[in-house]
């Protein structure tokens, strides 16, 4: 079986645009959840979020394309640009059919959609934009990136709520194993318009804290729901032999294992036990041909509510057995909010950067871990060798997904 490797990453996060800015901020533990600025959210139960500041759309795309796209697509185009640059990969001159795009998507171009529905109801159908049909739907990012970069290979849009960033990688790996050389994967989200926030509030899973510091606190005794956020990451995935053949500057990591399961229990109540989440973690580790002992670091989903956090802790305990209390666990997303499919894509970047630099960021916004959890939560940036990382994400309704990243072998890099 041909190996799949990560050769480029592009980040657009509330804590920084570009990998190094994001990483510096994450290591510094800077909180980037703040009161929502795009509109007056004071009437909402949730009014804080992780917002991407300083994103200059015109730095990445021209105005003609900007008016056709929602913010989530603009972010995907920008993150793709950054990832391809990082990979040193130029699509021009390559076989276009050999490159595909598979992105996760949570909620699509809702802000664009809200604006056009309002135009329809307030002014009539002639006021509706000619771009509504291509800007709102969930495939907009995959289509626009494919057009912009001339990729004609197998492409997909995987919708599994917050697990989507990982599932896009799982899907892309199927394409690479079937002979495609390069896949662009990951995802972005921009769900901070008035209507989208109302939709998210309905889930009852978001924090009602008005104080950003008191909001999203994964694994904390004061965990009380999550703050939403925007942004995400795009990664360049390649067939290992092809990447080497083109003389890639670097191979960050191998996508060694992947698995997905579903709780199939209840739409909004958490599963009664962690059976399926545990099975997901174990299957991903098995898929990598490893045993849990080989895992150096766990990047947790860190839902930030007591019931879901407890379930994840239980799954980690069941997966790692006696070693559970000594395997480092982190969830830096506490600093920026939950970015749905974009968030799980971003945690893959955390995994590869931890591997690259041999340093692991702390759990974001964690003040007092629930004592009974008994895991080795990373509280300060920790220097340690990282060769194998387990990344886990969940999606609303019972989706579980895990990926195992492994340091590339000598022959891959």
């Amino acid at each position: 079986m041909n190996a799949t490797v990560i050769t480029g990453v592009g980040v657009l996060a509330p804590s920084g645009i570009g990998t190094e800015a994001y990483w510096r901020s994450t290591m510094g533990g800077e909180l980037h959840v703040s009161p929502i600025e795009a509109f007056d959210a004071s009437g909402y139960d949730t009014c804080i979020a992780g917002q991407v500041h300083g994103f200059r759309v015109e730095d990445y795309i021209d105005n003609r394309l900007a008016v056709q796209t929602d913010r989530w697509t603009q972010m995907a185009l920008a993150a793709t640009e950054l990832a391809l640059t990082d990979a040193g990969y130029d699509v021009a001159g390559q076989d276009q059919y050999d490159i595909g795009v598979a992105f996760g998507s949570g909620s699509g171009g809702v802000e664009f959609g809200q604006r056009e529905i309002q135009a329809l109801w307030a002014q009539g159908r002639r006021a509706v934009s000619a771009y509504q049909s291509i800007a709102w739907f969930y495939a907009a990012n995959t289509g626009q990136v494919s057009i912009r970069h001339g990729t004609k290979g197998p492409s997909s849009v995987v919708v599994t709520d917050g697990a989507g960033g990982l599932d896009s990688v799982g899907q892309a790996r199927r394409s690479i194993r079937r002979g495609t050389s390069v896949m662009l994967v990951g995802g972005t989200e921009a769900p901070l318009c008035p209507y989208s926030l109302a939709c998210q509030s309905a889930s009852g899973r978001m924090t009602t804290s008005r104080d950003p510091r008191g909001g999203y606190k994964p694994f904390d005794v004061e965990a009380n729901g999550y703050a939403p956020g925007e942004g995400g990451a795009v990664l360049v995935l390649e067939d290992a032999a092809e990447a080497k053949g083109r003389g890639t500057a670097r191979v960050y990591a191998e996508v060694a294992g992947y698995a997905a399961t579903h709780d199939a229990h209840h739409l909004w109540r958490p599963a009664e036990d962690s059976t399926q989440l545990t099975r997901c973690m174990r299957l991903a580790i098995e898929d990598a041909g490893l045993s849990p002992e080989a895992v150096d670091l766990v990047l947790a989903d860190g839902a930030g509510s007591p019931d879901l956090d407890a379930l994840e802790v239980r799954a980690i305990r069941d997966t790692f057995g006696p070693r559970a209390e000594s395997v480092p666990v982190t969830a830096p997303q506490g600093l920026i909010g939950r970015l749905c499919a974009g968030g799980s894509a971003l945690n893959l970047v955390v995994g590869v950067l931890a591997m690259r630099d041999g340093v692991v960021p702390a759990v974001g916004n964690l003040t007092n871990p629930v004592p009974t959890y008994g895991l080795d939560f990373v509280r300060e940036p920790r220097r340690m060798p990282v060769d194998v990382v387990l990344v886990t994400a969940r999606g609303y309704g019972g989706f579980n997904s895990s990926i195992v990243l492994r340091r590339p072998s000598e022959e891959m890099s």
Partner: protein, 426 residues
């Protein structure tokens, strides 16, 4: 590269479609050449350029859903649950009696626009009829998050059938249905599932959807004659007719199906998708990328163009699609393109965006099963740019051994999938 993974077969079919619910009524409609397109009845269509659609006469309670399921779910998920129930029952899988390991039961459902209808309805309420940009969250329905994320469909299906394997919604616009079934096929090939509840659903007949296609004149304005408005490949075609519905197929590992003695409709022998990297809505007339998808699917299946006995076309009825597609068939199938019957059931059930790819695959499975090729209704006047055998108006009795079904969608997606009669060999 071709793969020699596990083979996947279709062992159950369920349909919710315009003109009749359930497989039987659906098959009767599409082989009779009758059409289910009509003037829109869900809302007053007068302000719209296109005022016609293929609507489902769907009663969710009568179809077996509980009041709670109906209350919390948009119509597209209601369709999906009903179609999935029919498909699972049809497959003979006894889910509560251990005829499948629930950890190896997966869900792959496609949708192009998800809960767009409910999202529009709720927005109108929250914004006081669209008057306000800032909505009043206090009026939000408890189930708005489920509407916001179309992944809810996969979750609902997984929960209903106790599917603990991988579950996902595939949302590649108008190729979602084929791509979801293609994904299911890959899950089986790769050994990640034994059985996949796979299909697609969309319920997009709403003011905003009609308005957004009005804005680009993609839909038919033949308002004076709704029954004959969907005219794929006909020289007088003027756009697609909006539709709605769902189809679900039980995609199963062939060995698993054989062991339990399941009835097999057909084998999935090849699947490929490509992008045109050209334009979000436009198509180049040469059909190169769709042709590439078809050739790749044939390569995987180790089949030749001459093996194909029926082509189920995308045939949306827009000026450019039908030319694009005709060119793609000629490019990939050569001379055989002129011999093989090609038809579009969108002439009868409209274009239900992401759902239609799965509905068309249900039609293909039934065509193989029954030895009948459904026609292209309303095809009367040949277009010199579309010069193949489009099976005009009347179904054709013939052996159907191998079927090619294709889809094309906004974003540039081009998908092709091949089905073969069980035990087929050249």
């Amino acid at each position: 590269m071709t793969r020699r993974g596990r083979a996947s077969v279709i062992t159950g079919v369920g349909v919710v479609a315009p003109g009749g619910n359930g497989c039987k009524e659906f098959w009767q409609l599409i082989t009779s050449g009758r059409t289910a397109t009509r003037r829109i009845s869900f809302f007053d269509p007068e302000p719209f350029r296109s005022q016609i659609a293929a609507e489902c006469d769907f009663d969710p309670l009568a179809a077996g859903l509980t009041p709670q399921e109906i209350h919390r779910n948009d119509r597209f998920i209601q369709f999906a649950l009903v179609a999935a129930s029919e498909a699972v029952a049809d497959s003979g899988l006894e889910l509560t009696k251990g005829s499948v390991d629930h950890n190896r039961l997966a869900v792959a459902m496609g949708s192009a626009v998800g809960a767009t209808t409910r999202l529009e309805d709720e927005y109108v309420a929250l914004s006081d009829g669209g008057r306000k940009w800032l909505v009043d969250p206090r009026y939000a329905s408890r189930f708005l998050y489920e509407a916001l994320v179309p992944s809810s469909m996969a979750a609902e299906v997984a929960i209903r059938f106790g599917a603990n394997g991988p579950a996902a919604v595939i949302s590649t616009g108008c190729t979602s249905g084929i791509d979801a079934v293609g994904y299911a096929h890959q899950l089986v090939e790769d050994g990640d599932a034994d059985v996949v509840i796979a299909g697609a659903s969309d319920a997009p007949i709403s003011p905003i959807t009609m308005a957004c296609f009005d804005a680009i004149k993609a839909t038919s304005a033949r308002n004076s004659d709704p029954a004959h408005a969907s005219r794929p490949f006909d020289a007088t075609r003027d756009g697609f007719v909006m539709g709605e519905g769902a189809a679900v197929l039980v995609v199963e590992d062939a060995e698993h199906a054989r062991r339990r003695g399941a009835h097999v409709y057909c084998t999935i022998t090849g699947y490929a998708n490509r992008c045109n990297a050209f334009h979000m809505t436009g198509l180049r007339p040469d059909g190169a990328e769709m042709a590439e998808a078809i050739s790749r699917a044939l390569g995987q299946a180790r089949m030749r163009a001459e093996d194909i006995s029926y082509v189920n076309a995308h045939g949306s009825g827009t000026r450019q699609n039908d030319v694009h597609e005709t060119a793609a068939f000629k490019r990939s199938l050569g001379e055989h393109a002129y011999q093989v019957p090609v038809s579009s059931i969108k002439s009868m059930v409209g274009h239900s965006l992401g759902a239609i790819g799965a509905i068309e695959l249900a039609a293909c499975a039934l065509a193989i099963e029954n030895g009948v090729v459904p026609p292209t209704a309303n095809y009367e006047q040949p277009d010199p740019l579309c010069d193949l055998d489009y099976v005009p108006r009347t179904a054709r009795d013939q052996a159907v051994d191998v079927v090619l079904s294709v889809g094309s969608g906004f974003g540039g997606f081009q998908s092709a999938i091949l089905l073969a009669k069980p035990g087929w060999s050249r």
